[in-house]
């Protein structure tokens, strides 16, 4: 290559379409095609592998040795080189033609009808014809029309054609459907939709108007999918207001099975494309046929024949049938000249737009396959382009002016890449491939071009131009493009990244070795030159790359100016690490699985996002490897030795398990969904690690039983060593700043539970020790006098066994496990246990609200906080409710004793009085059953204590103090006393009632006052009588 010249010449040489290259560059870059298929009948994609060279076709058909009428169609996919081949035929034939042969070449130009008409008008053969009317019409047709106006004309002409369809066309619609279709087209929303960029009207317009920017091989037709109405489109129609007929049509085209109708409509409308284009271009249907017939007549008159080359028949869109009629008309005994036509077109165009009668009249089909070049043809193609851009224009012109003889083909003087690879071309010439190697051409052709794009057009556009540009403008950083490498040699990858610390440089070197080199992790010395991955060390040095040490080999394959070093034949019976060959070979499907995953991983390492939400395919393989990484890390890290409780590990493990889990232990950077405790950066090092896990699963069936497992075992363990601290940190952290403290929440909640459940009944936390937490206590929450709020809280705590789960958390957190599962014997981490209990007690079971980790990504840790939250959010209400109940109860006691300080003695005194009361009742034979006071007497101490407990907290604000005061159910404890008081009060009342009743039985029903008067009289009589007796004495 000569970079100085190439910088000026690149843009003019590298033209994806032959039509735009200069004649000199066109000839200088031509590579003879040897893979052409000859057919008598059209086949969309021929299956025949019987190939004919362009040279044979030229001699047999283009030269037309029999001087016969012929119509040859050259077809193939877009970009396969149809135009190039036809242009090549035309150039050669122009030099070889007999004197009486006129050669007319219609180039594709911009591939529009107007462009083609303009070309025709410029031809002397057309200007000479006598029919000036047609010439005038064609001249008008080629005049420019504003884009919007022309598009609208096209659109409305279709409506006109539908309206005026008198069933003369092959495909017919009934009257109702035609009316609906017209209404549909008249709808404003549909109008805009059809006229949109990339829509059918633009496709048709692009074939009529000049300077349109669409793919040259676009076919000017409606497609069925143009008629499929999406929900959004329908909504837009509705909002804008749709005619009922249009609405009906739209609904038909929205249905699941709408494609059949859509195809019918598109086929129907495509019948009008030709007439619409003609009308919009302002030409008459017969004009083109007439022009060509006039040319033939004129040539006949002067005794000449015509060979016509049309690069692309689609440039006659709209008049193609008329054209074909004119070209297929045999001269026989008529006064028109013999015509030999060579016409290019795509498979799709021939298939869709050539009528059957035209297809049948084609003399010869020449099919150009996608992969038109064999390997050497491919190298030559690239070599000729490199050569052309490294030659000054005048040298090429000189060669062209001297008939462009192959033997005199100019070869540039190599300024850069003298020691690179060369390709032999005829006449003993050699072309330097710099900056390509054969490996790079092969690789890029296979992997950078998609299937169907492995054609000259894309080789130029996607391989030659970008690589050469990269060299010209990024020489010190070549190759700078981030290629999505496939078939990654992981050994080579590792060795490069292991030896080059600068990751970007390592990526570049690895890419260079993988694409330009032989992608082997080997080096060898041949003829005093050391080859690294098949490339001589001086090449690395030229590009400023470090020389990496690879595995030493005795021989290998590599580039050499010429000839190439013979490829190495690998020794049999030993694997890469010299392992015994009895380890089973890797089945191809497993290797493919790894390779497929590597394609995705390479894209990922190059910065592309990766979607791991699917379980199948390459993503599924990577997803499984990610799960395996998580499992391995859980197993390999000594959690307890790192100060992490196995209970925390179990909770994290539960949260990362299962498909629904959005948080995994390991996530990949740039993964489209989900996250992880540790995010594996998108780089080559990570790619190696993932590969190791894939091989362990796929190659070893989840074992190390496979060739190369030694390397993977090293990769995985050394990676674990590197990231262990980060993983441990991530697992022990709630967020970036705070550690998880769920055990404090769990212990606090458990303490609340012990209090609320009546298991811990003391009035201070002092004695709430590990015993209480680990011992089983009898639940004392049945038949209590607690408030509804208290009982409701207990019910909440028991929902879904939350209390039991929390208790288990506390028990397991401090259990020092051997292995990952709890055994029969609990060995306590006594130091941490007492530390945690102490902290909870010191904080009086309070955790600041802002420290609640209620959005912890680990559900089971979050559940602990939720459980505590359920408690603490209710305890104030519970405490208040307890106070209310206690107040009512204790007031009876206070009233009874007329005091709020009731001691044991007071109760004792009360009991004495009560007993006396019942004794008198008994003696006075009042019918009231005596109440036993034994119940109160036995519990006198507890009752006195309960009264005291209640009295102490009636004015208390601290819920914990209140809860602890009521933990022992003091209201329940004083119930016997309250019952007694109530009963005695009731009995006193009853006694009074009975006394009153008895009194009434003594005589009348006088009132008490009256009865006082009554006795007064008797007393007065007695007193008087006594006075009498006294006198008598």
């Amino acid at each position: 290559m000569d970079i100085a010249i190439a910088k000026d010449r690149l843009a003019s040489v590298v033209k994806p379409d032959s039509i735009t290259a200069s004649q000199g560059d066109f000839l200088a870059t031509h590579v003879a095609i040897k893979k052409l298929v000859m057919l008598n009948q059209f086949e969309f994609v021929p299956t025949s592998e019987k190939y004919t060279s362009e040279e044979d076709i030229y001699k047999k058909f283009i030269v037309n040795p029999s001087n016969k009428h012929q119509f040859i169609v050259v077809y193939g996919q877009s970009g396969t080189g149809k135009s190039h081949l036809i242009r090549w035929f035309e150039a050669r034939y122009k030099a070889d033609r007999p004197d009486d042969e006129v050669v007319l070449f219609i180039r594709r130009s911009d591939n529009t009808l107007k462009g083609t008409i303009r070309q025709l008008l410029d031809k002397p053969e057309v200007q000479d014809i006598g029919n000036k009317e047609i010439i005038k019409r064609l001249a008008n047709a080629s005049a420019a029309v504003p884009e919007d106006k022309l598009k609208d004309m096209i659109y409305h002409n279709f409506i006109i054609e539908i309206n005026n369809d008198d069933d003369e066309y092959e495909i017919q619609l009934n009257n109702i459907k035609r009316k609906r279709l017209v209404a549909f087209f008249n709808n404003e929303t549909i109008h805009d939709y059809m006229m949109r960029s990339g829509g059918p009207i633009e496709r048709i317009y692009s074939k009529v108007a000049e300077n349109s920017f669409v793919d040259l091989d676009t076919i000017a037709q409606f497609k069925p999918e143009d008629f499929i109405v999406s929900v959004d489109l329908y909504d837009d129609m509705q909002q804008a207001g749709a005619d009922p007929k249009a609405d009906k049509m739209a609904r038909v085209l929205m249905a699941n099975d709408a494609m059949e109708d859509a195809k019918k409509f598109s086929d129907y409308l495509n019948q009008f494309v030709e007439i619409v284009i003609q009308r919009c271009a302002g030409i008459e249907p017969g004009d083109f046929e007439q022009v060509f017939m006039d040319i033939r007549k004129e040539l006949y008159r002067i005794g000449k024949n015509l060979t016509l080359f049309i690069e692309d028949v689609t440039s006659f869109t709209g008049v193609d049938n008329a054209l074909l009629n004119a070209l297929m008309e045999e001269h026989n005994d008529r006064d028109i000249c013999r015509i030999s036509s060579v016409v290019g077109g795509t498979n799709a165009y021939i298939n869709d737009c050539f009528r059957q009668n035209h297809r049948d009249r084609v003399t010869q089909y020449v099919y150009i396959p996608d992969d038109v070049f064999d390997e050497s043809g491919l190298y030559e193609f690239v070599g000729r382009y490199i050569n052309a851009m490294s030659l000054p224009v005048d040298r090429i012109s000189e060669w062209v002016n001297n008939k462009a003889l192959p033997g005199e083909y100019p070869v540039h003087e190599v300024a850069q890449g003298n020691d690179w690879e060369y390709i032999d071309i005829p006449h003993g010439k050699k072309l330097c491939l710099y900056p390509f190697t054969k490996n790079s051409i092969k690789y890029l052709y296979k992997n950078e071009l998609t299937k169907g794009h492995q054609t000259p057009r894309y080789i130029i556009r996607d391989i030659i131009e970008p690589v050469v540009s990269d060299l010209l403008y990024n020489e010190t950083n070549f190759p700078s493009k981030k290629y999505a490498l496939v078939n990654i040699n992981t050994t080579l990858n590792f060795m490069v990244h292991n030896q080059i610390q600068d990751e970007e440089l390592a990526d570049r070197v690895f890419c260079f070795m993988s694409i330009w080199g032989n992608n082997e992790a080997k080096e060898f010395t041949y003829d005093s030159i050391t080859y690294i991955a098949g490339l001589p060390t001086y090449i690395y040095e030229e590009f400023g790359m470090p020389v990496v040490n690879l595995q030493k080999a005795d021989s290998g394959s590599g580039i050499k100016p010429t000839p190439n070093i013979e490829p190495e034949i690998p020794p049999q019976g030993a694997g890469p690490s010299g392992e015994p060959s009895n380890i089973p070979a890797i089945p191809p499907e497993k290797q493919k699985k790894l390779d497929d995953a590597n394609v995705k991983l390479t894209q990922w390492a190059n910065g592309m996002p990766i979607n791991l939400s699917t379980t199948g395919g390459a993503e599924g393989t990577i997803r499984t490897a990610r799960e395996d990484m998580g499992d391995f890390l859980i197993s390999a890290i000594n959690w307890q030795a790192e100060g992490v409780s196995m209970d925390n590990v179990a909770k994290v493990k539960a949260s990362i398990s299962g498909k629904a889990s959005k948080y995994k232990l390991v996530a990949l950077e740039n993964q489209t969904k989900g996250n992880g405790y540790y995010v594996l950066p998108a780089n080559w090092d990570s790619l190696n690690v993932i590969n190791a896990f894939i091989r362990w699963r796929e190659f070893g069936n989840q074992s190390w039983e496979y060739v190369g497992s030694d390397f993977d075992a090293y990769v995985i363990t050394s990676w674990t060593a590197r990231i262990k601290k980060q993983i441990v940190k991530a697992v022990t952290q709630y967020d970036d700043k705070n550690d998880t403290k769920y055990i404090e929440a769990a212990v606090t909640a458990e303490m609340y539970r012990l209090i609320l459940n009546g298991e811990y009944r003391e009035k201070s936390l002092g004695n709430l020790t590990a015993d209480y937490i680990f011992c089983n206590h009898l639940a004392k929450n049945k038949n209590t006098w607690h408030s509804n709020e208290w009982n409701a809280l207990l019910a909440v705590m028991h929902q879904r066994d939350a209390d039991i789960i929390n208790r288990e958390t506390v028990r397991q957190y401090f259990n020092l496990l051997q292995g990952s599962a709890a055994g029969n014997v609990v060995v306590l981490d006594a130091i941490n246990l007492s530390k945690t209990i102490r902290k909870a007690k010191t904080n009086k079971l309070q955790i600041p609200e802002e420290d609640f980790q209620l959005d912890d990504k680990v559900k089971l840790r979050k559940d602990t906080y939720s459980f505590l939250n359920d408690i603490v959010s209710r305890i104030e209400n519970v405490a208040n409710a307890e106070i209310d109940i206690a107040k009512k109860a204790i007031q009876i006691v206070y009233d009874c004793f007329d005091d709020d300080e009731v001691e044991e003695e007071d109760i004792d005194a009360l009991l004495v009085k009560v007993n006396q009361f019942y004794k008198e009742i008994d003696e006075t034979q009042i019918n009231i059953k005596a109440v036993a006071v034994d119940g109160v007497k036995k519990a006198i101490k507890q009752i006195a204590k309960a009264i005291g407990d209640i009295t102490r907290v009636l004015d208390e604000d601290d819920p914990l103090t209140i809860l602890m005061a009521f933990s022992g159910d003091p209201v329940g404890v004083i119930q016997p006393l309250i019952e007694l008081i109530k009963q005695v009060e009731k009995d006193i009342s009853e006694a009074n009632k009975q006394i009153s009743s008895r009194k009434s039985l003594l005589g009348n029903s006088e009132t008490d006052e009256e009865s006082g008067t009554h006795y007064k009289t008797e007393l007065s009589v007695i007193a008087s009588d006594m006075d009498v007796i006294g006198v008598l004495r």
Binding site: L492, V548, N549
Partner: protein, 259 residues
Amino acid sequence: MFQNKMVTPAIPERVYTLCKIVGKKAMSTSEVKEKMEPSYLNQKSSYYNDYRNAAEELQLITVTDNVLSVAVDASVLKNMDTMRSYINGQLNQFREGQFYKVTKAYFDMGEEILHGEQNVANMASLMTLKTGISVDSMAMRAWRFWASYLGFGYLQDMFVIPNADTFLQDIISEAEFEKNKRYSIAEFLEKLRPHSDIIIDSSNGTKKFSFGVSNGLRTLQDAGAIRMEYILDQEDTWNLYHVDALSANETVTNITVLK
């Protein structure tokens, strides 16, 4: 555990907790037991003696008249890493014990260990054969906990992938190499002895590091802890285990301890 038979209950974390309890104050054996396996748990059996014996074997504690006292400096019990480093310096005393012999045999098997049984419990008969002493599956289960903790490898379920990076790092630290000084491989290995004998056999003349030791040295080099070099014309050369991808630097003549 280290002198004789390996037992599963004597896991490092229990030994460490026991030592920390005793580290606060000397306690009777029953008091320590009551802290770690309190009677209120009403457990039918106890592991206490197993981990207490392990702590005693390792001379982390002494037991006199049933009173347990710490026998090491407080810095040894600062955390489990410091305890590990201490224990790795003690292993040489247990050359005849199961743990030492099994670890040595495991490493001697080299890469071959990857291609066979991948559950250590099922390697008992193999280890009996390799060590010449009786090793049962329970002992192997116990071995994995300590092999993993002491840094001889990475636990993958019931398998230990040999990579002695942590063990080597501990004994390198213990050997007090001068930082950034290039030692010949012979000097380097000599300074590591006798602690390194458990996994590096300098006497057999092969001068090849086993798979697990090579993994460890390479991991330490990756972490920037050491630098291994091959310098021409050096008398003594050792070879790391050959792995294709790592073969470029498998001959070592000098090692520099970097941190």
